[in-house]
């Protein structure tokens, strides 16, 4: 095994990742922890780039460095009273925890070594690359997400919807932000425009280059967040029934395509020959909207104002 400068870079990245994780989790200052966690997310995006995973680097740059950072910085404002829930760990339990950790570490290592060394040459990757031409897109990651393993993505959207419903059930959103000054107002205008443009580009590019519904959705969510931060109380997130439809759009598009396929005597979610590219783009557009509005809602931390009003409209009184 030849050691090159690349391995030096790998080692430095790895050490910094571990150092940041350790210092983010040690110490009682939560503000320090959150900022170091943001640095960790940024660094992770660089690591994905280094490991030749540009799709992940894009998603992490939008989510790890931007959205979760914004979420956590806002969470810092909700005061937390220390000492209220002190956990007193008895020595026996500490020992048990240590043993459990060792066991987990051993199984992790075993699984890892098996995954890296086992079954050389006979991997799913070969299958994925072999069928790429029939998938309707030329970016292998998009092909896996929207065609070969579309079930996974459908269920992932369901998880996202479940989390959003949980947040909606928790009550009202945060109080709105103050009206911005001249400078921030300008920033909000041009940055939301750019975010929407780049999101559109990534959605379209996802078929043949890194990008797709997830990255585009995260960028649209960032645009919604930016509008809210700029003191807008209703722009970006449509209240009323439209929001419900948008939240469910991704799953709806998936299910509809899936059932339509069964009418054509195909399996559920099997795309008719030659139409895969178009169908994938349609599903991706719907999924992008669902992801964007789910993450935008997540940022509010509760149901938007006016939600109750619109929900009682439909129910019989």
């Amino acid at each position: 095994m030849e050691i090159t400068l690349w391995h030096l870079l790998d080692a430095l990245l790895a050490i910094l990742l571990l150092g940041l994780a350790w210092s983010a989790l040690s110490g009682s200052d939560l503000r320090r922890g959150v900022v170091l966690f943001m640095a960790f997310g940024l660094l992770l995006s660089l690591v994905w780039a280094r490991l030749r995973a540009p799709d992940l680097a894009l998603a992490e740059a939008a989510i790890g460095a931007g959205l979760s950072g914004a979420l956590l910085l806002l969470a810092l404002r909700d005061s937390e009273k220390p000492g209220n829930r002190t956990v007193q760990t008895p020595p026996l339990l500490q020992l048990a925890t240590l043993l459990l950790m060792l066991l987990l570490a051993a199984s992790f290592a075993l699984a890892y070594v098996t995954a890296v060394t086992g079954n050389n040459g006979d991997r799913l990757a070969g299958l994925a690359f072999g069928n790429l031409e029939q998938s309707g897109v030329s970016n292998p990651v998009t092909a896996v997400l929207l065609n070969f393993r579309a079930y996974d993505t459908l269920l992932e959207l369901a998880v996202l919807l479940a989390a959003t419903l949980g947040i909606l059930a928790l009550g009202a959103e945060r109080r709105p932000f103050r009206k911005p000054g001249l400078l921030l107002g300008g920033l909000v205008t041009w940055i939301t425009t750019l975010l929407v443009m780049v999101a559109g580009y990534l959605l379209w590019a996802g078929a043949h280059a890194p990008g797709g519904a997830f990255q585009a959705g995260a960028l649209l969510a960032a645009a919604i967040v930016m509008l809210r931060l700029g003191g807008m109380t209703s722009e970006g997130l449509p209240v009323s029934r439209l929001l419900r439809w948008l939240l469910a759009a991704g799953i709806a598009a998936f299910m509809l395509t899936g059932y339509l396929a069964t009418f054509l005597d195909l399996a559920f979610l099997q795309y008719p020959e030659g139409r895969a590219g178009l169908l994938i783009l349609l599903i991706e557009s719907a999924a992008m909207l669902s992801i964007a509005f789910s993450l935008g809602l997540a940022y509010l931390g509760g149901s938007p104002s006016g939600w109750e009003k619109s929900s009682s409209k439909g129910s019989p009184s």
């Binding site: 400078l183 921030l184 300008g186 920033l187 041009w190 940055i191 750019l194």
Partner: protein, 94 residues
């Protein structure tokens, strides 16, 4: 030849990035540290973008890189302003 010139630009940019980092560490107070960050780093990135454009040798790529640099400049200028005024208000309140 263009590769070498590009590499020279990139090496020159490193000096500015180093100045930014050292300034962030050594200068006293938030407002002084803002200088180090927004000025040095943006010049450094500018030089790096020129160097990368030369090495890449592709006009479309060069334009994209230029766009990235402009965005970073505007965004960091506004971010610096926001942080500065936020730090100022904190000082008044406490």
């Amino acid at each position: 030849m263009t590769d070498l010139l590009g590499a020279l630009f990139i090496l020159a940019s490193l000096g500015f990035f180093a100045a930014g980092s050292i300034g962030l560490l050594r200068l006293p107070g938030v407002h002084a540290r803002l200088h180090a960050l927004t000025k040095a780093d943006n010049v450094g990135l500018g030089l790096l973008v020129v160097g990368a454009g030369l090495i890449g040798g592709d006009l479309l790529l060069a334009l994209k890189l230029l766009l990235v640099w402009l965005l970073v400049m505007v965004a960091s200028a506004i971010a610096a302003n926001l942080i500065a005024s936020h730090a100022m208000k904190d000082g008044e309140e406490s």
